[in-house]
């Protein structure tokens, strides 16, 4: 019967997709900005230790890393404790001073993040710290994982 013609909404059924590229581009830019592509290849083994009272480093741009841990050798063997800065292992501890000083000149507010393997000895770390003192890079951060609070 013509009287009972089904009423249909006048609107179209499709979702407008014309704005989709814009949305996707926005997401894309977000991830492009947050991505840190420059990861170093570690030549030393780093297992970070845990600590309770830690703080976050908010400004990652200021951070430069020093890695200390047993050297990775072929066949999954581990060698002696070594210091790695950027992509190379520094055999000469005394050279660290110049490297860190050059970095400090580029960024005055530099924070040195020390990523040290939990089982490496304090002696090497203290040698590196002495060099950092001489290079005037005083802001350091002992990188640790977070541990659930005890009590």
């Amino acid at each position: 019967m013509a009287h009972f013609k089904k009423k249909q909404a006048g609107t179209k059924q499709e979702v407008p997709t014309s704005a989709m590229p814009d949305v996707v581009f926005m997401l894309l830019f977000f991830f492009m900005v947050t991505t840190v592509l420059r990861e170093v290849t570690l030549k030393v083994k780093i297992d970070l230790t845990k600590a309770t009272n830690i703080e976050k480093i908010e400004e990652k741009r200021l951070v430069s890393y020093i890695y200390i841990g047993p050297e990775r050798l072929p066949n999954n063997r581990l060698g002696n404790d070594k210091v790695q800065i950027d992509d190379s292992i520094q055999e000469d501890i005394g050279a660290i001073r110049q490297i860190m000083y050059d970095k400090l000149l580029e960024e005055q507010r530099m924070i040195v993040s020390l990523r040290v393997d939990e089982s490496s000895e304090f002696g090497l770390l203290t040698d590196v710290q002495e060099e950092l003192k001489k290079a005037q890079t005083f802001r350091i951060n002992y990188s640790t994982k977070s541990e659930a609070t005890r009590n």
């Binding site: 894309l28 309770t52 480093i57 304090f122 002495e130 990188s143």
Partner: protein
């Protein structure tokens, strides 16, 4: 008669595949992104000491000497201490609630000196440092609650400075003795 037969091609670039390209890039960055926050214990190293200069005198009672050996045994002011008691002992030393002659004159004067040996594993050293930082965090939180009735983490910058002045973090990392 020269009639133009060819239809004009449209001058626009076909934009329909743009979304696909953007998606592809988006997925690439989604996969490669690692949003990991760096966490750690922040410290400020002292300037190098001039070997000809004498270190400034510190009164014995204001100095808490913590010695840690390579097996993780702790001495606090010549007393062996289990690690579970380090924090409470430090808090007592810094605050000195009973104004004892042995402990720090004031929280401002208190200095915690941490000394270890070269063979100490990093893990033990960080555990110790964590305890010291924890003691200060506790005290600062307490002071924040007293003065501003809020936790330390919720204070603004000026208020934090006030609390930091009450309990300045004076931690000295002593060099280990050469072998």
């Amino acid at each position: 008669m020269l009639l133009k037969k060819r239809e004009r091609e449209s001058a626009e670039i076909n934009g329909s595949s743009m979304a696909d390209i953007a998606f592809l890039l988006l997925i690439f960055f989604l996969v490669t992104t690692t949003i990991n926050v760096d966490t750690g214990i922040g410290m400020v190293l002292p300037p190098p000491l001039d070997p000809t200069e004498e270190p400034p005198p510190v009164r014995e009672r204001n100095l808490m000497k913590i010695l840690v050996n390579e097996t993780g045994l702790i001495m606090m002011d010549e007393e062996p201490t289990p690690i579970t008691e380090v924090q409470s002992k430090l808090i007592e030393f810094i605050k000195n609630p009973e104004a004892s002659e042995e402990l720090a004159i004031s929280p401002q004067a208190a200095i915690v000196s941490l000394k270890t040996v070269r063979q100490t594993p990093y893990r033990i050293y960080i555990d110790m440092l964590d305890e010291v930082i924890g003691a200060y965090a506790f005290l600062r939180n307490e002071a924040a609650n007293q003065n501003f009735s809020r936790d330390y983490s919720q204070l603004n910058k000026d208020q934090k400075e006030v609390v930091d002045d009450i309990y300045p973090k004076k931690i000295s990392i002593a060099e280990p003795d050469p072998e």
